[in-house]
Structure formats: C-alpha cells, structure tokens
Symmetry: C2
Subunit: 396 residues, 2 copies
C-alpha cells in the first residue's frame, strides 16, 4: 500500500445497506488508503435514491449530536480531519457545523491540526433536491470549512453567482474566498462543450483554487472524459479520495502546522497540493468508473439475453398499462443495480492511481467580469455550458 | 489481491462510530477480501461497550425488517451469504431469523446458493450480557443456520451442556448437529491449561466440526497462542474472515451446488473446507493482533511518559476520592483506545495470511461421555479449563 501518514477522520454522511454512496462509499475508500474512519450516519436507507424507491430512516439532528457527545466524553474525538456530506435537514447541517466548530476549537492552539472538507450536497443540474432552508444553513458554515466540494449548481447557490463562463466562474470562486475566508475550493462539475455545441464525447472539467494571502484565487483546471452513464456515489468517492490525497500532499509540502494548509503565495496554481491531490483523485476515479462501465455493459447485455421473449426471466407482467409500468420499473431497477460503482473489486486503482490515467492540472488565468456590467472577458476555458453541472462524477 | 470469487453478503450486526467491532469491523474485513457487503446495523453507538460508557441507539426490530423490505422491493436481496452478529433484543433476533428464512426460501431450488453464518452473541466467561429471552430466540433459529460461531459459554447455552472436557465438548457438538441439523460449528474459544494449572503463556483452542451424513461430528482443533491483552471486536473479525475463507474453500472443493456446503463423508476432519478456512482465518488474526499488541504497548508507554508527574498531560484531577475515580476512568479510556484492533493498517495480513503464522488443524477423536453417568473418557485435548471461554478472540 502507498502509505498515507496515520490520519483519523470523522465522516458524517448517509448510509445505505445496498450499493455505494455517502458513507458507504467514503468509509471504504478512505480505509483502503489506510485512514482511520469514524462514521456517523445521517440516514439509514436500504439503497440510494436513484432506484426511485427506498425504505429507511433519516437520523434526527439530536441523535447525531448525541453520537458526537459519546465520542467526546471518552476522548475519542481527536480527529485530524472531518468529511461531511449529505444532511437530510437544516437542523442536521447545523449539528454538523457545531461538531466541526468544536473540533476546530480543540485544535485552536495547533494550526493545521484539524481540517474540514465540506461537501455541500444540495442539488444538481439546476435542481435542488434538499429542503430550501438547507442553502442558508450551509452558507452559515462556509467560514468554518477548509475545503468545499460543490458541483457547479451548488457553487452558484453558495456564491449567488450564475456561472456561465470563465469570468463568472472566477467571480464566484473569488467571492467564496473573500467573503468566507474559505481557503480551498474544488468545483467538481463543469461540463464544457466548445462553442456551446454539445458533442457526443464530452469532457468534464474540475476547477480548483487555493487562495493567496490577499484572498485572491489561484485557479487550476483538470479535464477528464465523461462517461455516457449515470453513476451514483461518485461525488462521495471524489470527496473521500480528496481527503486522503490532500492530507498526503499537504504533509509532503510541510503544511501540517500551517493554518488551513494554505500554500505560500509563491506556489503556482498547478503546483498546489490541492492540484496534485486532485490529479491523483481523478486518475483513481476514471479507472474505477471505466471498469464499472465495462462490468455494467456486460451485465446489461446478460439481462437483455435472459429477458428476450422466451428467456428464463422474460418480463411478462401482462400487457396492460400497469404491466408496462411494472416492466419499465423492473428494467430501471436492474440497470441501476448494474451501474453500482465497482469500488470494492477495484481497490487497487484507489491505492495506486493507474499510471495510464494521467490528468494534468493547467492554470486558469481567470479575470473577473465587472459584476456591474456583466462584461465577460475573453476566456480560455471555452464556453461553459450552463446547467451542465452533473459532477465530474454524476455523469449522464 | 488473492481474489475470492464474487460474493454478495448481507451483514447484520452493530455499528460504532469509533473503533472496530460488529459491522464496523466485519464490513471492512470482508470488503478487503473483495466481498460485496450490504450492512444493516442493529445498533448505532458512539463506541463499543468496553469503554464502560457509550451513547447511541438500538435499532428497533421493525426498522431492521423495513430495511430488508426495501432491499427486497428493489430486487437487491440476491445475497450469496449472510453474516449475523449482535442483536440487542429477542425481537431483533427473530427479525434476523425471518430475513434468513426469506433468503433461504429464495434459494430453495438452488442448493448451496445461500449460506448463513450465525454468530450467536450472548455472553462470555459464564456471564450473559444480553437479555435472557435472547437464548431461546437463538435456539429457535439454529435449524436455519449453516454455520454457528459460539464461544465456549454460548455453545454451552445452546446445547444445554456444560463443557468441561473433550467428551462433554463432543457431546455438545453432537447434540447441535443432531437436534438442529446444523452442518457446521466452530467453537472459537476453548482455553486450555494443561493439568488445570494456568500458565502465563496460555494457548487458545478453536474447535470445529462439519457433520457427516449420519449427523456425527468430524472434529478438528487448532491451537494458537493467547495474547495477554483484551481486544474488542476480534470475534467479529473471526466471523468476517470465516465468511470469506469458507466461501473460498467451499468453491475450491466444488461444494457450491451442495446443500449447506457439506463435504462428502470421505473427507477427513483436517481436510474439511471449514478446517482449511479456519487455518487461514487464524493466520490473519494472529498477525493483526500481534501488530495491534505492539502498537498498543508503544502507545501505553507514550501515555505513561506524558502522564508522569510534570508531564504535559499529567492527570491532576485532585486527590480526593472523586479525583481518583476520575483518574482511573481516564486511564481506562486511554488504554481501551490504545487496544483498538489495528485492522485498517494491517489489511495486508487479512488479504494474505502471513506464511510465518502457520496454525494447523489436528483431528480430535472425541468420544462422548454417557450423559447419564457423566463419565468422561480420557481425552487428548488436555483439561479444558471451565469458564475460560473468552474467544480465540476476546483475550484477557
């Protein structure tokens, strides 16, 4: 194993029995990289919501607080890092914020000894899938986070800035750095299509920044090919890998006693530990997703064969409207199951980012548009398709 | 990775945020060996109970049933195996039994396609640590299990037989095979001390049996050195490794289409897949525990240094009675934390049982005592210390 220095992480996110999303994804990914993970689960569901039907229970905020109090009373809360993901209510967001502040307070005399990665899970592709009071609840926490991992839509919500091109992107990131003193940002989800014409083989861009001491951004961008398939939990895989790889890169850069692991101003965007970490994260992810895609296609092919008329599992639930709906639902369930990320069987790719998956960060020389006039300066990012923020990760 | 054939496991046990017991242990161990694990958590606690204080919640039986129903409605319950552990109430034991029967029913036309490993967690060293109505609840499930993993005390409870020597041991195992048609049994916990004189360097014995077609036992025994330290969660590590290694051994032996993976009568005790699996399990465990012991001793030594008078963390909570109690509790908490099993950092030992940890099964030629007279025949196991059943695993 590529040994990452001993790291203790508190992971607060959802738990599903079947499949790999939330903590069910993040815990295994971080453990595979050698991190000690303490998981507090914000929901206990049978499966993730892409199946379109789910049973289980949301964890009330007071139970999350109680679990943390249990850790605290036994001196088990000496975490180096925290990763927070999906919260089912604004109260849970607030409870998570209180926990983070308590951990930050404990680490006050030792700068750099606690680091919070906040994944502000709110929605995607212009659609909010949490209650609307969660948006201000997250905004109120941004000042306490070290790194946030929004997709394009979530970055827009948090910065109150519509991201349409590189200048508005730069503006949004600048605002988040400046207003919230937020050291690191990675937008996991910019989908580019040159000249606004969607192409079949699309590219996804991940854009990150670690601010300078004057709060100005240091932007880098990494492009990866998109897969023509929707995978659930890839945002959680991205976050978990980022926790491990950023820890590794920050320690290598000697930043472990520096508040927020903020690199000196002399470090160029593409040499940031955040950029280096993201490169490794994407190498692992692309390989795992490619292998998942292959396994999924094989399974779908197998299903088509057994479901063909006369096949052993042919879906003959009648021909009426109900029968058709039933057949479509079964088909959907099987395809969703086939697309579960093969993370367990591809653990090698997590531990050793494949050398044939090289994605390099490039600097983004973003200039802010004058927000007054909305004038966008020419940008070198190409036209950023509006509303295409499905995650480097949640790909259609 | 030593690839074990693709296996999907439903794991029903406890979950703790901090530390490694129950599903928090078993899920990672099985995933490390490449198994797909779906976890349903019977409790959500902050930490395990050896800390002597814990916060959190027991999962009500109906929530466990609901999670399973959620899997079932989306056709996600096509499990190859099930591992069940700690249940906080008799109702939960019954709910787990219903789930196992449903999975068994689904597999009815395909013998060997579903296998249930039942760890009947009830107590240890003569002490019950669950509600007493859990004992009959487990007894009622034995007919449906394929393999049970009791410690000595639990084997006594389930067989209504006091185990004092090899003949009563044989009697207990024979009863479990005969009355419950229980194919496989491993007693994880016989502590031997020759001539009944406890020695400092004690040996633990694990005794297993796969019944023959006439329901008679095929007993084997494996001895391992005991560690002079109590570790929590080692029973769960044993169970999780056994799931993976028995699956591997049974498939290698071509038993995957044989009901209960029952070996032909011609197979000798020491050549049973169960014996082969247990050898690998113990090799992995002994190495992980040895490394844990080393890390623990180092940590205890470090704590002693910083807590010495004048040390930075010296425990000066006053000298009154309360101060002493407070100091003792803090000491206990720190020592318990130091003894958490280092499973994440020793994943190599799980995947590749170390070649320098070789524990071989030997046949046990047990003859049953006549239960009427209690006459024990001379035994080749040595005297089995009564009440020493702390697990190959929960070691003091």
């Amino acid at each position: 194993m590529a040994e990452i220095p001993e790291t203790s992480v508190l992971a607060i996110a959802s738990h599903v029995a079947y499949g790999h999303v939330g903590n069910t994804m993040a815990t295994f990914v971080m453990q595979s990289l050698g991190l000690e993970v303490s998981a507090i689960n914000t929901v206990e569901y049978s499966n993730h919501t892409a199946y379109k039907q789910v049973k289980g229970r949301k964890t009330p905020a007071d139970e999350i607080t109680e679990l943390y109090d249990g850790l605290k009373q036994s001196y088990l809360n000496d975490f180096d890092m925290m990763l927070s993901g999906y919260c089912p209510s604004a109260e849970v967001v607030q409870a998570v914020g209180k926990i983070a502040r308590d951990l930050r307070f404990n680490a006050m005399t030792k700068p750099g000894s606690f680091f919070w990665v906040l994944d502000p899970v709110m929605g995607d592709e212009g659609r909010l899938y949490v209650s609307s009071d969660i948006v201000p609840a997250y905004k109120a926490l941004l000042n306490d986070a070290d790194l946030i991992l929004p997709n394009q839509f979530e970055a827009e919500l948090l910065s109150d800035t519509k991201i349409t091109d590189v200048s508005s992107l730069t503006h949004a990131i600048t605002l988040l750095h400046r207003i919230h003193r937020l050291t690191h940002i990675v937008i996991t989800s910019l989908r580019l299509s040159v000249d606004n014409i969607p192409s079949r083989t699309e590219t996804l861009s991940v854009v990150g920044s670690t601010m300078r001491s004057d709060l100005s951004p240091r932007l880098f961008r990494i492009d990866v090919p998109a897969f023509p398939c929707f995978f659930s939990g890839t945002g959680d895989m991205f976050a978990a890998l980022t926790v491990a790889r950023l820890r590794e890169a920050a320690l290598k850069a000697g930043l472990d006693h520096t508040a927020h692991w903020q690199s000196p101003d002399s470090v160029a965007p593409t040499h940031l530990p955040l950029a280096e970490a993201t490169e490794k994260v994407l190498a692992s992810m692309q390989s795992v997703l490619r292998n998942t895609m292959t396994a999924r296609d094989k399974e779908i092919h197998r299903l088509e064969k057994v479901q063909s008329p006369g096949g052993v599992n042919s879906l003959n639930e009648g021909t009426g409207e109900e029968g058709v709906r039933d057949r479509q639902m079964k088909q959907h369930l099987r395809e969703t199951k086939a697309a579960e990320v093969r993370v367990v069987r591809n653990v090698r790719d997590l531990v050793h980012p494949p050398v044939d998956e090289v994605y390099r960060a490039v600097a983004v020389e973003g200039k802010e548009a004058d927000p007054g006039t909305g004038d966008a300066l020419p940008d070198e990012l190409g036209v950023v398709k509006v509303g295409g923020g499905e995650g480097a990760t949640h790909q259609t």
